[in-house]
Symmetry: C2
Subunit: 462 residues, 2 copies
């Protein structure tokens, strides 16, 4: 694989242009207005896998959006790598905060990306990171360097809970059999310090509805005499954290692993500046659970956040109304040993129990997934670390992430194999936010590093 760097350099303009074409399709899975775009993206992924050298590529129907499957089997006695990624993207709102349209990709330089970055919804999460694997495959097949079998499984519902993926994996265990699963849907510390994500948080996502009177009322005639569902909702949500920002749902922390002081000291060695963090977010003070550092709060501790809230009059000017209903979307990030279905149940029971009799409450679970931890003595981890060390000139640091890729736990359960999370994005890439972007350096470095993982994984398995 001596010529991988040269190959990437020779083809980089085409690699960038192909990704840009993919980013133009608004494959927002959460909004049914975009369903044809989601389907068109699946077709585009299928074509790109064929062109990159897969022998067999198919669009597999599911109860939801289809899964694109591709494979190149060179020898059944050799190991098999299963690449997972997703072709759907987050909604783009608030659209007015984008400095360029989310589905008209442009390349701009930033402080963190002096070589330029592609700005578009999905640039990093996950079209850009997923497409690195397609281009790495192209290199290995065209140059005769593919050292093992490879399978691709690219889904279209990751941003809405991967429910069809679970359905698909349960029904296709043979087809998906593999020795290691490779995913690029996480980040690394910086462009000079690679890292491998070894832990992910689980997720429980619910929507709540509080109903007061059966119709909107005049706040002068009824104000003070009926339960205002917005006021009640704020009280209910506020009560979900105590004064130390512990979550108050009974049983929520049951079984949650408390890291030893040694482990916490090890974690604290990762380079981190609280001042830089606060400056980057323009906040005067950090915030969170008492007794834990910022890096602990967003990785080893479970959380509860309101992701959206609405009710009453939200237009221009003033309306003196008491709304009939108020709503919120609430998600909980979970750590290992918290079962997401159990947590969803605990939340529902608790939320219903704290509602005053003057209102009615409905809790609707959206989706969820389990947390996950990868051991670092695993062959896959070691092979990835060797690949990073070669391309970055420095070993990767193992890191627990606060994000969730619920399907990693599912893969372990259904396919009995470990997942290696080779992320090339940066935390500052604004995924799920306006102005998402992905560094050109990161994109190309990913394409360069991935084939080396294949090489070392096969060597270490001999």
């Amino acid at each position: 694989m001596e010529n991988i760097k040269a190959y990437v350099n020779q083809h980089k303009d085409r690699f960038i242009n192909e990704l840009i074409e993919l980013l133009k399709i608004p494959s927002i899975s959460a909004d049914s207005a975009y369903s044809q775009d989601v389907l068109n993206t699946a077709e585009a992924i299928k074509d790109s896998l064929s062109k990159a050298g897969c022998d067999k590529v198919e669009i597999c129907e599911t109860p939801g959006y289809p899964i694109v499957y591709g494979e190149k089997i060179i020898d059944s006695k050799l190991p098999t790598v299963l690449v997972y990624g997703h072709y759907d993207v987050q909604p783009a709102d608030p659209i007015e905060l984008w400095t360029s349209p989310p589905f008209e990709p442009v390349i701009k330089t930033t402080d963190k990306h002096p070589d330029g970055a592609i700005f578009a919804r999905g640039a990093c999460d996950d079209k850009g990171q997923m497409y690195m694997h397609v281009k790495a495959l192209e290199y290995m097949t065209t140059q005769g360097e593919l050292p093992c079998n490879v399978k691709f499984m690219i889904e279209g519902e990751e941003e809405i809970g991967s429910s069809s993926l679970a359905w698909f994996v349960e029904r296709n265990q043979e087809k998906l059999s593999n020795d290691v699963i490779l995913i690029s849907d996480t980040g690394m510390i910086s462009n000079t310090q690679p890292s491998i994500t070894t832990g992910l948080r689980g997720l429980s996502y619910v929507e709540v509805e509080v109903t007061g009177p059966n119709r909107d009322l005049h706040s002068g005639l009824y104000g003070g005499a009926v339960a205002n569902p917005i006021n009640v909702l704020t009280k209910m949500i506020a009560s979900l954290h105590d004064e130390n920002n512990h979550i108050t749902i009974p049983g929520f922390y049951n079984g949650v692993e408390e890291l030893s002081l040694e482990e916490r000291a090890e974690m604290a060695k990762a380079p981190f500046s609280l001042e830089a963090y606060k400056n980057a977010l323009d906040i005067e003070e950090e915030y969170g659970e008492k007794g834990y550092t910022t890096n602990e709060r967003n990785s080893i501790r479970p959380t509860l956040d309101v992701n959206g809230i609405w009710g009453g009059y939200t237009g221009e000017g003033a309306k003196t109304v008491i709304a009939s209903k108020a709503y919120a979307k609430i998600s909980m990030r979970l750590v290992p040993n918290q079962d997401w279905e159990n947590i969803t149940e605990l939340f529902t029971k608790h939320f219903e129990s704290i509602a005053p009799k003057a209102v009615k409450v409905k809790v609707t679970p959206h989706h969820g997934g389990q947390g996950y931890v990868t051991p670092i003595d695993n062959v896959g981890y070691k092979a990835a670390n060797k690949a990073y060390t070669e391309t970055f000139g420095i070993p990767a640091i193992p890191q627990r992430s606060g994000g969730s890729i619920p399907i990693v736990a599912l893969f372990e359960k259904e396919l009995k194999s470990k997942t290696i999370l080779m992320g090339f994005g940066l935390d500052s890439d604004a995924i799920h936010s306006p102005n998402e972007h992905f560094g050109i350096f990161n994109y190309l470095k990913g394409i360069e590093t991935i084939p080396l993982f294949y090489k070392y994984f096969v060597e270490m398995n001999k």
Copy 2:
């Protein structure tokens, strides 16, 4: 005025049709998209005043929407009645809950309105009630029954705080000089029990904005480690009421008049069924400040209600985002002795003081107004009561209302005269709600009753 009943009966179809035409114009002052409709409504009011017999009618420019002024001066030695009303209406949302389009008036019967009611935004508040006065004037001028001078002042910004009205009144004290002010913009107990509103609550309406991080963030990567502005906003709003639903803003209750047990006992005599109230609103339990009854909570006690709240992802499906900003519209109903500007200041200071350092808070006052109480030994009150007694066959009951017509206090201050609130709507007419309506009985009864007020007011002033 013996023939008033016959005159109303003879012309009732035309009276209804003229009002329906007026209700077709969507004069929503809160939404600038409707500004031309608001202006068109002013023109329509001007025409109707000319036709009803005013000698002089003009559209008076203001810094905001114009005020329609009309007058008929028959003898400067006779008393002058100033009629106030408004031609703007509330926004119609939530539009999907209307059973017929808000600006396509239809007549339907209801339990409370067996003779039919006109369903349209503004039917009761205030186009229908204001137009009763125009038709009453028509009767008096065409039949030679006008016993005194009359002035009309109809504004277009009542639903957004009447700020131009204050500007106008301060500059036109001579033009607006009068002996009594007559307003129909309140309700009465029922179609068989008239009532006159003698007290109104004041209002302070503010909008709050809470800013956390400078951009929307991924709730997995940042969740638990930064202040989520929605969670913080819910905590801040929740803390504005204590466990007894008293408002916690320091100084909020300073000077608030506590009614004597006798006065409360007198109030409690008004016919009221808590069961019927709960059934009408489909609520299992009422809610409010401890130590007060439902009718006290919505009339003699100040309140704080969230009228709207929004932030984060509120679309279909799920988005795992921590919003940068969260917003709420909050209004406080005030009772006599609470100065609205002082309350706005107390709210702002308190809300800013309870914000954690991890967020920034902005409070923007929208508008406000003072509360008001009319003494029942006043000539205007007595004349109104005599008019009601004649047309309904039963005296009116004096009543304190929870609503606010902030300009009543302004009139007293600037024009030195008392206001009589002759409301003909019912609480169940759904003003500010979907399916607002105004009973045909109420509309015609109003036209019949108003000229009698003029008659008795002039007689009692002799």
